[in-house]
């Protein structure tokens, strides 16, 4: 790496970063010298990577995630690791073992989650772009709550190698930025085939955003404007869709009947996978020491009780239960059929429309501490999880405000049509700025 260097000493009043790198060297390339923040569940060689969990406190990965290698090859300066809900389990970034991140738009509110640190680092002007991860909305939700842009790519388009798994079959690393152009640029750096990720597709991203959406057919699912969605949010999003129509798009009402059980299917799938993924944190190979004088179950139980937060233990137990003898068929197996139904609903709609549009989140950013009941927090993911279940791309782009807080317009696309959702978001962004 060539010897350029930048200093990074931000005023991190929002607790966006868990680790900052004060002096960063970088090389030439498409992103040369651009400060990029990386969510703390993405492995960075030599830089502590904790997933905002005490159980990984002090863990220094001996290898880089594929996307981190690509960032470095592009000349980006990786300036720090951002705060998040522990292991990605949350919608507020309050579930961090190292304190919550605050929303730069209103510090009494959450930035959304789980990639809240990345969103706040951008919204707070500390970096131009950042990497987040999206398992059930974890890029789009904080993008919406903080008034920035975030893309959840098509499943398989960005390598997950080095991403500390929460729910492998649902999650993707994706770009976040102040503008659609920044998100598109970052996507161009991180997308592409990686032989170390068996779910990786050879679909590089070489697109430059185009604002022309004449003739575009936009599906408007009734479920995204119904019960549970704040009418003020619905109004703002509807008027944003109106702007798309002014740009030459036509809207088509549609319906996603499987939305009824999509959220349950999502939580069953992600907790099942998480219960297995997080079993390896036992204090033997990394993390805080297990007491080796005890027998293994006792030692592990102690380390894991002390190391995992309440929400993480709750999800591990839920997943363990849902996979346990006698319940697999009722929960996991059913959730996989539900997933297929969601995928088919989208496929059916996409045979008639080019993209689907709706709000990213049903409300504006919550007040800190507002979502104390786990189920009510889960329910706020209802509009983002269908995309993860189906593996399709979706972007959140700012589209106005309610009570002074930003609202996100969510554009969902066909598999591997990340370019198209970028274009629609870009067209909207160009129209309103």
């Amino acid at each position: 790496m060539a010897g350029y260097e930048i200093c990074f000493e931000p005023d991190d009043r929002y607790n966006a970063f868990l680790t900052t790198c004060k002096k960063v060297t970088y090389g030439p390339g498409k992103l040369t010298g651009v400060a990029v923040a990386v969510k703390d569940n993405i492995s960075t060689k030599g830089i502590e990577t904790t997933c905002a969990s005490k159980i990984l406190k002090g863990y220094i990965p001996p290898y880089n995630a594929h996307v981190v290698e690509l960032l470095m090859q592009s000349g980006a300066a990786i300036v720090g690791k951002t705060n998040m809900d522990e292991f990605g389990m949350g919608t507020t970034t309050e579930n961090s073992a190292f304190g919550p991140t605050l929303n730069p738009c209103d510090t009494s509110r959450v930035p959304g989650g789980s990639s809240g640190g990345s969103a706040a680092a951008i919204a707070g002007g500390m970096v131009r772009m950042a990497l987040g991860t999206d398992t059930g909305g974890s890029i789009r939700c904080p993008a919406a709550f903080c008034g920035i842009v975030g893309l959840k790519p098509t499943y398989g388009r960005v390598s997950r190698y080095g991403l500390i798994a929460y729910a492998n079959s649902l999650e993707q690393i994706g770009p976040m930025g102040r503008t659609v152009t920044d998100v598109s640029t970052l996507m161009g750096v991180i997308a592409g085939y990686d032989r170390r990720d068996s779910t990786s597709y050879n679909k590089p991203y070489t697109h430059t955003p185009r604002a022309d959406i004449k003739g575009l057919k936009v599906g408007i699912p009734g479920e995204y404007f119904g019960a549970g969605v704040d009418p003020k949010v619905a109004t703002v999003v509807n008027s944003a869709i109106g702007r798309l129509e002014e740009l030459g798009a036509t809207t088509v009402p549609c319906s996603i009947p499987s939305m009824e059980y999509a959220l349950a299917a999502y939580y069953v799938t992600c907790t099942c996978e998480a219960s297995s993924n997080l079993a390896r944190f036992d204090g033997v190979r990394y993390g805080p020491a297990a007491d080796t004088k005890k027998s293994w179950h006792d030692a592990y139980r102690e380390v894991r009780r002390a190391g995992f937060g309440t929400e993480v233990r709750r999800r591990i137990m839920l997943g363990t239960f849902a996979l346990s003898s006698g319940y697999y068929g009722k929960y996991y197996a059913k959730a996989q059929v539900a997933r297929e139904n969601v995928k088919r609903d989208f496929a059916r709609i996409f045979s008639e429309v080019d993209v689907i549009a709706g709000p990213t989140m049903p409300t504006v950013a919550f007040k800190l501490g507002e979502k104390s009941d786990p189920l009510s927090m889960y329910l706020s993911d209802i509009l983002t999880v269908p995309v993860n279940l189906a593996g399709i791309p979706a972007i959140s782009v700012p589209c106005g405000k309610v009570e002074g807080m930003p609202i996100g317009l969510q554009i969902m696309g066909r598999p591997f049509e990340d370019e198209r959702v970028i274009d629609v978001a870009y067209a909207y962004e160009q129209e309103v700025t």
């Binding site: 290898y63 798994a165 079959s169 990720d197 779910t199 996978e273 190979r285 990394y286 004088k293 293994w296």
Partner: protein, 482 residues
Amino acid sequence: MTENQVIIGLEVHCQLDTKSKLFCGCSTDYRSDGPNTHVCPVCLGLPGAMPVLNKRSIEYAMRVAKALNCTVLHESEFSRKNYFYPDLDKAYQITQYDKPLAEGGYIEIEGDEGGEKRIRLTRIHVEEDPGRLVHMGNTERGKYSLVDYNRAGIPLIEIVSEPDMRSPKEARKFLNKLRATLEYLSVFDSEKEGSLRVDANISIRGSERVEVKNISSYKGVEKALTFEITRQKSLIRRGQKVDRETRHFLEASGSTQSSRSKEQEHDYRYFPEPDLRPLHVQSWVDGIVLPELPDARRERFIVQYGCSLNHARTLTGELRLANFYEKVVAPDPKGLSALAATWIADTLIGELNYRDMTIDAVDAAGVTELMNLLRQDTITDKSGIDVLRVMLDQRLNPQPCETPAAIVVRLNLAKTAGDTGFLTAAVEEAISQHPTALEDYRNGKSGAINFLMGQVMKKTRGKADPGELNRILTEALKNREV
């Protein structure tokens, strides 16, 4: 149904002899290296690492499936088997569960009741080996475990049989046949320590089934099964119940021990491994060209070399042994095949076992030369054994090895053919030194001749031709009858 009938089924785990591990590029050649030196983010279970399936491991497993007459399934997939144990880096083992690579098939063995017997197979699947605990710790010493993850991720094939075996002997034959087949397929190296592990299901008809785990040697299987059968039969004889349970085999004592009840509560919570894609490889089966397998080679040895069925079975029962035999007889198949079959099957194997040597350590050219010396009548059979022993002992030591001919010369083992003067002298000496033997002979005790022959043999250190000696001795004794 026969009362007290023994019912045995085996689950055999064999390490596939690939160059790299099942899900990462770490070398499988770890045995001579230090702990934790063949480990990467994937096989150490570091957060964020992802498995990528080794193609050769699937090709090897499919070769086995085809050779054992199994059906490769249209779709198979990998699942996670979740449990905690310090040697299991990810706290789950990637294995195959409800969609194994192949199902069905059989292995033919020589059954206890004579004739070929088919042992049916349930399934074949591929999975990863866990790491290795080198120091288990125990309560008395309040110690800890030490883990080496070099073995973690080595590809294993698991072959599950139906409960078709009726004795430990049949189980041994099943294992031998399986091992031979895997070696003939060049997918397995039985010489590598710990490359085979067996779990056995065993019951006495009408009673509960017991699973014996942790059997890690061929000899251990027969021992463990024999122990279990005795244990179960004696329980039944005393009117007690056999518990359905898992027991561990203790290699040192040759016994089995009940596992703690806690371990029996396993709920493995299998689900498909989301980081791997399914396999659709059924169409590869037709393209697999199998080499000559043990049964075919056995038949060929009988036809081509005139081996007896038993010799052919022994010689082809191990790939290395079969190759060795063919190498020994290659220079002169017609002249050497019968002699070499006898010598290798009946003598050499025993001598190797006695020294805990493998056939790899033996020089085939040397054995060919030895066979020629025997065939040309240069040395007696007894001298032949001596020469063979010297050859093997020299292989065990760092000293330079001699050729058989050199050994014959050095030890003066060449037959005394034609040198009747020497023999006559030795006979005369023996008779005069043992007047009682002569007396016995005169009194018609036939053992006297054997005694005197032994004395002469001793004097001549075995190089006397027994036929020649017998002729001279009989003559000499006759001359003294009057």
